[in-house]
Symmetry: D2
Subunit: 392 residues, 4 copies
């Protein structure tokens, strides 16, 4: 099946010709009987064979994006004529000529490479298209401004594509979370709360209703929030089935390391390197002086259950998409997914700087660059010296 | 050599008869060519053979501790007559009768089990005795009050000991950090700063001076601090050789997950589960609004170098022991040690509760209990309902 | 008019026979031409004449509250037969016998003393009944559990009432905030957003629609929040007309010192003593590492304007009551109200402890007690010593 | 006496010809019997007579500073020939020609205006020269880079000086703290701990030893810290004589609003507007999850007493100058000083912008500018849009 091939390809990425084998930099795992998630990992890979199909994903449809897609398609046709190009079927979008429509789900055509154009939200959206299984490697282009999940500038697309076809692409496996919902009586329920989706995007609804898929994988986080209720909600948090704490708050976030720079950060969480396998539990405005963010191993399962005595129910957001409302007694269980997202990394096209201490090929330079440039991490009083009085 | 045997025994703990093999709960690793640190891990183990030597460690010498040691030795003699009992050689202490003196270092007798009596600091001290290599499994007793690193009450010592001899002990591998110092010119230097130890305990000094050991492994953290200088220091932090940030602050902490509930927590760091392999970088009073704690994978190496333009030097504390002063240009590099501490866990003597969801043998219940009871995690406004007016 | 008399009585409290005149403890003000808010202040007062009318306020209508009200009314009749008792007119409530209905608004009967029974929310509700002008002194009773705004246990009601009639009551003036709304074009609009109240309580709506009152005074805070929108909102904050910052966040809180222990605290704000005159600006989950709570003098006016490019509008909560939605270009201006709430204080019925340094009559002991007992302020690791192992 | 004249002149600033009298913007006070501190306040003033004596203060003696001082002195001679210029007597400095030496203390010549050249630390130093009484108005010049306490660029000195002589200077009264030390038995002791000063600057020592002055006024904060002790200290904090909490931590800070952007901010404290009268208590790395910064009215007195069971003593820093060590049982009491520092404000030389809403003459624009430019307050993810990929 297409999905399995994807998996195989991805696992090639994982195990074959791992160049980044400097002691102490890369941890290697033997996953026990398929039950353990492949870890977030940074690797230089030579896929057994180059991609045969590419899916283009974009969220918005501005003129620059349209033009970039056209140029991209032309480039693929000229340089990789055997490759099939797909575009997500969305009603508000006209599929570019010479491109086939692609719909997620069981019979979906096998995709070997996903290309996104837009902001961070576009990768989140791409992830949601594959939220029930494995994801092919993802190549993400920004349209000019920087983003946390956007290693490539659109002007670099031919270079980036070449690195993939030549087997030089480096991949960062970004962990995802698998979310399972349970109703009051402990029976599994869907992420759409039984047919009452609130603002979910169309393809997701189709996916779930048509194919009966009820779990959901997220890349950033699952967030529970009181929404517009004036009252706080009360949520019991369990770790591996053990009661951890009762939270009276605006809500709770379970985040991946990738998501640690998104909502969790705003709520006061730590910044976790995306190559670590971990779950972060961050409270949102807790009525407590002593609620701190917690970091768990990726092997943990976290259950958030709305307390029977909660005054408010909780809206569930998955990567920023409102999915459903949880009432008292209802719960969501979050654990590491088996299907991380292989994100093709900027170092695929940058030559290792000579002589930089410890910087082998495929180093995580994007992340350090990003927290410094995008988050303006620790960017403060020292720049003072650079400022001059703006006199009068 | 004694050390190698220790290692072998410890590695038996690690790989043999791992009962806790529930999918998703325990990650198993195959360590590549010895270069990767064995991960913090919780395991039920049957060591190939029961311990033949026990080292008793205590920091203070109060009457209750003295009496407990006497009772403990008597118990070992009565029940495990072939086991040799050692006691750390410290000048201020008279070695109990029938017990041999033990000194750390090259010719030291092989120890199969360490028993500590006292507070959290006693385990830190035990760790420092083995700070140059592997540590035998550690059994830690509190004298009555709780502690984060103290799974057993002294009254339970016979039960706990039995669990070890019967091969039923569960072990949590607590990660340690290996610290390497470099001088201005990048040459390695000792953790005592070249013969100028400030307040280091005697055995450490002996260890280093006699045997030329210059690295040091810590269990909680390495902390750099301006100490009593009125001025802030300026420290350049590097990750895997890449410049991360320049910190102007009171200091910086590199902590293990174990240490995340110690100094790092006070400085605003997150609480990290001890079964995760990770390094936490937490600033102490930074002159910046945007300095947040960072969590790195255990494969990272973090270098902290005092900037040439730092107004103050930095005192280095290793698990709370002041070791040396770093001046401008000098640095310390911190990475995961190959030798975590196998801490024998409370679940060794507790029967798994029947029917508790997800709670197999050897679950990390101690940690949830500890953050709730010891840190009073999130213990706040809800208890309000329990309070009554203390009228008049 | 009734309101003016209230004011006069309140100002008697303020200026007459101020016993708490220890140097350094109480600041005295001469308010310039009525334009400066009377400061939060703690004073022992002898009102010129004892109250002639009492308004009973309760939010919930449980059996214990009903019984307490009955007992209270009986007590007033027996002991202060000339005093008129009123009860707020709410549809879901039957007015106790012998008590007159009271409705806020222009023709409302003059009230000399407000008595509340219930939780902290009851005082907030009482404040909202007088949200357009001055508030008579408030005597607040809890039904047994503690609360931040609840100095008296219900069993002490006769004692507390006596202190008022005997002129021995001490008053803490709790600052309130006056909120003025403006639409896109800078024209003043109502707090109900032009007839689209969302979940506002009935009396408030009546008040505004009948009498055209469009400003609103709050005791805790004004909070702007994205509510159930998945998107962050963008709010421009101005201080005294000067642009302070652009906030991209879940929302912003402008809080009184009283409210600093409510929502603002959960969002990370400092705890501000209620006898200080100040405004606290606290962000809710800002997309910024460097957004810190700000404390302004009570003379400041803070304007929060939804940016034209905000992706989400903002729901406005006033003391936890959702009042209206602000869209792009709309704004709310918050400043200290001229009408703080005179809250009768626990020290009214406690005898000053002899010999306690600095503790004159009317000291703010409630507050220290409350942050320790209710918030469990700094209540942590030291209690460790008290815990014993719960063995097995 | 000189000091009284200073006071009179300062109080002229305070009460005469207050132009900034817009309702709601400026609070006016009548201080009761001299016992209440004059509040931090922003005022346009016309001193009865122009200054007759100027004291130049500088901390460092770089070439640019030397040259600036020479130019300044020349300018005064040319334009204000009757004005006497003084320079602080410090051993490491040669007094510029034509300038008289000035020493703090009882017989010191009366100073009408203090001029500082250098960084923020220079104003702190100037404050320490007048730490026993009132301070004349202070005019602070930076040497090019910005600083929180540095309204004027050195190139603007003639303009700034003119504003003072023409009576157009605006003053922000920055609150100071008065510190009183007590030994174990409650007897007052000196800030130098009875002749054991640790690193105090010379003039301070002279001041105290010669004139028996034992209290000290600070502008930023009093900080207690464990210094280089490996152990935490235990400090009992009292407010107005009432026990507030027992702090186990690295230390505690009592800060002014001015100091809220200094050490207190690094330790996690809120930013408090300098025109507010308040005390901020901020813990440094507390062993507690629930210790939050507290803001008290300026009328409060805060006592910090080292607990008898503290494992470490505490070094006391006053505005960054180490003054003494407090051992178990010893304490410091902090309260608002009667002598705030009149800091001449940038708006003295800027014309009010026409039409800016709410911005009368003398508005606190410096502060908003400073927290934005210097602290990069909330300066984060929005600037992202401005960044472009730094390609390759
Ligand atoms: N108060 C807050 O900080 C809130 C944050 N969010 C975040 O927004 C995400 C959804 O993003 P969009 O669909 O783009 O919505 P959006 O267009 O509202 O963007 C949210 C912002 O988050 C950034 N972002 C997204 N993922 C990120 C990551 N992993 N690291 C750093 N920045 C990241 C985006 O670049 C964008 O600036 C959610 O997954 C959630 O994490 C959602 C609600 C509130
Ligand atoms: N401001 C702070 O919080 C400071 C904390 N420390 C910590 O003290 C440790 C040394 O401990 P001792 O020798 O016992 O000195 P100590 O006797 O001064 O005790 C420090 C406290 O930390 C607790 N502690 C130690 N390790 C812990 C852990 N892993 N998790 C939770 N609590 C823990 C101890 O029980 C004790 O209450 C250092 O490793 C450092 O982490 C050291 C200096 C300052
Ligand atoms: N995440 C949070 O912390 C949120 C807090 N709130 C707060 O709830 C308040 C409304 O209260 P209720 O009507 O009683 O709603 P509620 O019944 O939902 O209670 C909120 C809680 O806040 C407490 N509280 C109220 N005022 C307080 C104060 N000044 N200091 C300390 N605790 C206080 C109450 O005792 C109650 O425990 C709002 O003014 C807002 O401050 C509202 C929404 C979210
Ligand atoms: N970890 C930290 O943040 C520490 C901060 N300090 C602060 O340093 C001050 C002494 O300053 P210096 O003698 O210049 O020593 P310094 O030369 O070591 O400078 C400390 C830094 O604080 C800045 N600063 C001083 N007062 C400030 C204020 N009110 N607002 C904003 N920034 C301010 C200075 O510009 C300088 O950048 C102390 O009063 C204390 O507040 C002292 C020790 C540690």
């Amino acid at each position: 099946s297409p999905r399995t091939s994807n998996l195989r390809w991805a696992s090639n990425l994982l195990t074959r010709s791992c160049r980044a084998s400097q002691p102490g930099h890369i941890r290697r795992f033997v996953t026990a009987s398929g039950s353990t998630p492949p870890p977030p990992l940074l690797q230089r890979s030579q896929p057994s064979e180059p991609p045969k199909s590419i899916l283009i994903v974009n969220k918005h449809r501005t003129k620059p994006i349209k033009e970039a897609i056209d140029a991209f398609i032309q480039h693929v046709r000229d340089n990789y004529p055997d490759v099939k190009v797909f575009h997500e079927d969305r009603q508000d979008i006209d599929i570019p000529e010479g491109v086939e429509v692609w719909r997620p789900g069981e019979g979906a055509a096998k995709i070997d490479l996903v290309v996104t154009l837009g902001g961070d939200g576009t990768i989140l959206h791409a992830s949601s298209l594959f939220r029930a299984g494995a994801v092919p490697p993802v190549l993400s282009f920004s349209m000019g401004t920087l983003g946390f999940l956007l290693p490539f500038h659109i002007d670099d697309f031919s270079k980036a594509l070449a690195s993939v076809f030549e087997g030089k692409a480096t991949v960062l496996y970004r962990m995802r979370l698998l979310c399972t919902f349970h109703d009051k009586d402990g029976k599994r329920s869907g992420s759409d709360g039984g047919g009452k989706p609130t603002s979910i995007c169309l393809s997701a609804v189709i996916l779930m209703h048509t194919y009966g898929i009820i779990d959901w994988q997220v890349m950033n986080e699952v967030a529970l929030h009181r929404g517009s209720s004036p009252h706080l909600n009360t949520i019991d948090a369990f770790v591996d089935g053990q009661h951890l704490t009762e939270a009276v708050s605006d809500g709770l976030i379970v985040s991946t390391p990738t998501g640690s720079t998104a909502y969790s950060l705003s709520a006061g969480g730590p910044i976790v390197h995306p190559s670590l396998s971990a779950l972060v539990l961050t409270p949102i405005c807790p009525r407590s002086l002593s609620f701190r963010p917690l970091v768990f191993p990726a092997s943990s399962s976290i259950t958030l259950r709305i307390s029977e005595r909660s005054r408010a129910s909780a809206g569930v957001s998955m990567d920023g998409q409102v999915s459903r409302i949880l009432g008292p007694g209802e719960s969501v269980t979050v654990r590491a997914s088996l299907h991380p997202i292989p994100c093709i990394n900027r170092s695929s096209i940058t030559e290792p700087e000579e002589g930089r201490e410890g910087a082998g090929p495929g180093k995580e330079d994007d992340w350090v660059r990003d927290i410094n440039n995008l988050l303006q991490y620790n960017a403060t009083f020292r720049s003072k010296a650079l400022l001059r009085h703006d006199r009068n």
